[in-house]
């Protein structure tokens, strides 16, 4: 069993899960929803195994490094993190329908990695040989994944609330939207996901700063990637304050969450592809 075979299985599983989620929404059959989650678990296990195999393969080539060393590896790890967060939320809140709006992010990552990113295992340059790299990447990516989840939930919220407001008071909403959780639950899940993501991003920024200090003696140098992570942090801090203390709920915070995720993606990919700086290894 090689990592590339397992990565193929992962991609296929995420695609299948997406399809089954859509069938679930239209057929409104609980058993299909259960099957969709099962496919997600298969994909997640394959994804985990693939990352593990890649680790082993790198060691076999004589490179003692965690599989978080280039853009390809970071993207498949991002997909893995999204599934991790989604599955934990599913265990806790049992809101199946969300999968239809969250798994596409994971599938998008996998298909992009498989189709157009360089999958060769290359040794790390000395600047990246540090355990801090592992801590830093893991915390950042769990944060990003929670924000992806919040974004998916916010999109559902915006679709659902329009319908809820149009339909007569009290009458149940039919069709696919009937399968969505209520707008109140979606609003709450958005907030809960950000509550996971925000401390993780905080830890990600701190571990990054600790590493920079250990490697170069400066914990903060206003490098574009650092600055963008701070921008994302400010946006979600504004989100939390607006919610905690000014009582923002509903559409406004849903948009803020979508906007925050757009900034997150720019921080993750845009900075490498568009701007220049110390983190260029990811590009």
């Amino acid at each position: 069993m090689t990592s590339s075979l397992l990565f193929n299985i992962t991609t296929v599983a995420y695609f299948a899960a997406m399809v089954v989620f859509i069938v679930f929404l239209t057929a409104k059959n609980k058993a299909i929803g259960f099957f969709a989650i099962l496919v997600c678990w298969v994909g997640f296990i394959a994804n985990t195994g693939a990352i593990g195999m890649r680790w082993v393969e790198a060691y076999a080539m004589g490179y003692e490094q965690a599989p978080l060393s280039n853009l390809y590896e970071s993207v498949v790890f991002f997909s893995w993190s999204i599934l991790l967060i989604y599955l934990i939320f599913d265990l806790k809140y049992k809101q199946r329908a969300i999968g239809a709006f969250v798994i596409p992010f994971a599938f998008g990552g996998m298909i992009w990695a498989q189709w157009s990113l360089d999958a060769t295992i290359a040794p790390l340059v000395p600047a990246l040989q540090s355990n801090w790299l592992t801590y830093h990447v893991i915390t950042c990516f769990i944060g990003y994944a929670a924000f992806a989840m919040a974004c998916g939930v916010s999109i559902m919220y915006l679709i659902k609330i329009n319908k809820e407001e149009k339909s007569a008071e009290g009458s149940p909403i039919g069709g696919i939207l009937g399968m969505f959780p209520s707008s109140k639950v979606l609003d709450d899940l958005n907030y809960k996901a950000i509550m996971v993501g925000f401390p993780m991003l905080t830890l990600g920024i701190i571990t990054g700063a600790a590493w920079a200090n250990y490697a170069w003696g400066t914990y903060w140098s206003w490098d574009p990637k650092e600055t963008w992570s701070l921008i994302v942090w400010f946006i979600y801090a504004a989100f939390l304050h607006a919610r905690f203390t000014r009582g923002w709920v509903g559409r406004r915070v849903a948009w803020l969450s979508i906007f925050g995720f757009a900034a997150t993606i720019f921080c993750y990919l845009g900075v490498n592809l568009v701007l220049s700086g110390l983190h260029s290894y990811g590009g």
Binding site: G62, Y63, A122, P123, V125, P126, A127, Q129, S130, W132, D188, M195, F198, P199, T202, L203, I206, A209, A210, N213, Y214, A215, W216, G217, T218, Y219, W220, W222, P224, T227, W228, L230, I231, F234, I235, A237, A238, H241, A242, F244, T245, R246, V271, L275, S276, G277
Partner: protein
């Protein structure tokens, strides 16, 4: 009395407002983008060439301090305003929070009960006292030991949990200020510098990056050896290492081999492996056989020098390669046969000492080795504020986790005699995460029903 607020009150309200906090957060986020789009701290020529700016545009932007924006007056002022806002907001709210925690409302009258998001009522039998004892035991068991107050024949109970979590916001917010403080300490009492040390030599001062002035460090630092290692079969560097020795009054105090991601720290200074380069010319050693006399000698000398050979000619080393095609280390040399007419340069090898025999000149030459000494380039940092920054980071993590996962939960009970039986009212709230508390409260209410109806 006029309702107009005085100017100072207005100013105070302005600095305390949360609207200001959100606006500042958004302003900081948006203005920070500028410095990620325009590269910082480049020379005027670079801006005018690579961004195609006219000189007047450059001057205007320079006046706005856009080219070093994170240290500009306006950005630092925005940060300052952020800090002032945070401080004022905390000062304004702190007394109220302390009051809530230290002087809780022990007696919940009907008016207060109406405001509780979670409440319940039970009518039971027995005396006020017997019901009180049951409820005290139940609350003590399931939640927290209550404070009991008796007034006008009625009994009021109050119990609370997690009161201290009210202060987690203050921990989070003051940690931001602590980080600012650490950064300021580092800026005022610390510096960033660099130094190059040639292998075998030592230094006792470093060069400030800001002013290019030497700073004495109070001890000596020697570099015994610098080395680059490569990944097998390639030119990808695997590691850069320097063997450093700290000396005080000529005595060796500390030895450490540093590499990228593993610096040396001594007396508040930290030395980071950052660059390297060749120091001086490489020194070659050759074994030379003079064919005519059959004499074999070893000669040694730096690149470009004339090395005397038996028979009157000179050997001139011209360059070398670690790996020439697939033949290993090689040197390019030339022979000056004494009339200053240089011949054609040729290659000699270390691993194939016989190779040069075939050339058929006056000499057969093989390479013994080439020694290149290097200097190691170190970054030097002194930052006495860094521990303050880490303390702030620790507090921000603890504070926000506590702010997210704990809440101040309070439960009030009133017990009063009714016409028939004893009326028990139960109410409660949480200052955060109300849905979770509502679930908890429903459970507790059930316990009440069970205990009091039996």
């Amino acid at each position: 009395m006029s309702k107009e607020k005085s100017f100072t009150d207005q100013l105070w309200d302005f600095f305390c407002s949360l609207k200001l906090a959100i606006i500042i957060l958004i302003l900081l986020a948006t203005t920070s983008i500028i410095g990620t789009v325009i590269e910082q701290n480049k020379s005027p020529q670079e801006y005018m060439q690579s961004y195609g700016m006219s000189e007047s545009t450059y001057k205007a932007l320079d006046a706005l301090q856009v080219f070093d924006m994170y240290h500009s007056y306006w950005f630092l002022s925005l940060m300052g305003l952020f800090a002032v806002n945070l401080i004022c907001c905390s000062i304004k709210r702190l007394p109220r929070i302390i009051k809530i925690v230290r002087e809780p409302i022990l007696v919940a009258d009907d008016g207060l009960f109406r405001t509780f998001p979670n409440k319940g009522e039970v009518v039971t039998t027995g005396t006020v006292e017997s019901v009180r004892d049951k409820v005290v035991a139940l609350l003590g068991n399931k939640f927290a030991t209550p404070v009991v107050t008796e007034e006008d024949g009625k009994i009021y109970l109050f119990s609370q949990k997690g009161a201290l979590s009210r202060f987690s916001v203050y921990v989070t917010h003051s940690s931001i200020l602590i980080i600012f403080l650490g950064a300021m300490i580092g800026n005022v009492w610390g510096y960033k510098a660099y130094v190059n040390i040639v292998e075998g030599q030592s230094i006792s001062e470093v060069w400030s990056r800001a002013g290019q002035v030497p700073i004495p460090i109070g001890f000596e630092l020697r570099c015994d050896d610098f080395e680059v290692t490569y990944y097998e079969g390639g030119s990808r560097p695997k590691d850069f290492t320097s063997d450093l020795v700290v000396l005080e009054n000529g005595k060796e105090i500390l030895k450490k081999t540093i590499e990228v991601n593993d610096p040396l720290s001594y007396k508040g200074l930290t030395f980071y492996q950052s660059s390297y380069g060749p120091a001086g010319d490489p020194v070659y050693r050759f074994r030379v056989k003079h064919r005519k006399s059959g004499e074999t000698v070893t000669v040694r000398g730096a690149q470009g020098k004339h090395l005397k050979l038996p028979g009157g000619s000179d050997l001139i080393p011209m360059g070398y390669a670690e790996s020439y095609q697939s033949f290993g280390p090689a040197a390019q040399v030339n022979i000056d046969s004494g009339d200053h007419a240089h011949g054609t340069p040729f290659i000699v090898f270390k691993n194939y000492p016989q190779f040069d025999e075939k050339r058929g000149g006056a000499y057969a030459i093989s390479l013994i080795d080439v020694q290149q000494s290097y200097y190691t380039g170190l970054q030097v940092a002194k930052d006495p504020g860094v521990w303050v920054v880490w303390l702030g980071c620790l507090l921000i993590v603890l504070g926000s986790c506590s702010a997210f996962f704990f809440s101040h939960r309070r439960i009030w009970v009133s017990i009063q005699p009714l016409d028939k039986g004893i009326g028990v009212k139960l109410g409660g709230n949480a200052h955060r995460n109300q849905p979770a508390f509502a679930l908890y409260f429903d459970e507790l209410k059930k316990e009440f029903d069970d205990t009091l109806s039996s």
